[in-house]
Subunit: 146 residues, 2 copies
């Protein structure tokens, strides 16, 4: 096996380990915010509000799934729905102040966990690793290479 082939094997194995761990710890990571909720809130912050359908499309989730997630986030007071005056079928979702705070808090705690994990890496390696990950994720998706 060539060096390239064996590197591909390693990447596959390590990505799989990572995915499994992420899955296992997703629910326990932050009691107040699952990985999905966190991602959705992050999207709302980044876009400054969007529709449920956009979330579903962007994250490849069924609209019913998003509908329930959104309902839960609203019940928790983290987001609010504003009827689009242009189109009354549409609800534009926005973070509330509480939602913004929780999101920032979870982001901080996640960031510090990552920092800790990467604490001893030389800057050069961090930069290269970051670039590789971006490149990997930007590649053609949906092939199951997860």
């Amino acid at each position: 096996m060539s060096a390239a082939e064996s590197a591909v094997e390693t990447i596959q194995r390590e990505m799989t380990i990572f995915a499994r761990r992420a899955r296992a710890s997703a629910g326990r990571m932050h009691p107040e915010l699952s990985l999905v909720s966190y991602t959705l809130l992050g999207h709302l912050e980044e876009r400054d509000g969007c529709r449920a359908t956009d979330l579903a499309g962007h994250y490849a989730l069924d609209k019913s799934t998003v509908s329930r997630q959104v309902a839960a986030l609203e019940r928790a007071g983290l987001i609010e729905r504003r009827l689009d005056p242009e189109d009354h079928r549409v609800q534009v979702l926005h973070l509330t102040e509480a939602g913004r705070e929780i999101l920032a808090q979870v982001t901080r705690s996640r960031r510090s966990a990552f920092r800790e994990r990467l604490a001893n890496w030389p800057e050069e390696d961090l930069v290269r690793f970051a670039a590789y990950l971006e490149r990997y994720n930007a590649g053609p998706g949906g092939t199951g290479a997860v």
Copy 2:
């Protein structure tokens, strides 16, 4: 923000994207084998058989979860249980011939998906990326930096 800090941000973001995708596609990846089942079969192959408790410990799953997964895999004819003659509480799990085949098949299809995704990477980058991932995963776990 320093280059190192911004690299850590990127790593966090990209790892999260990856984890979310993995999660979303886990169930659809291979109709015949979920990510968890695949991982468990892989472990059995690697160790040439082990106990359910070992699987639970190694993958941080509850023993009841493993028990049901194992039951499903046995029903599907992919593994078999052999009573440990030394200790009648213990069932040693082994791949069956069918299990070995399915595992090999899924491994092949996953590998080809990874290969495709990484097809245009220069060997040097593959080797470095693989090393970074190994290093990342080998770090202290369980902090939520997933």
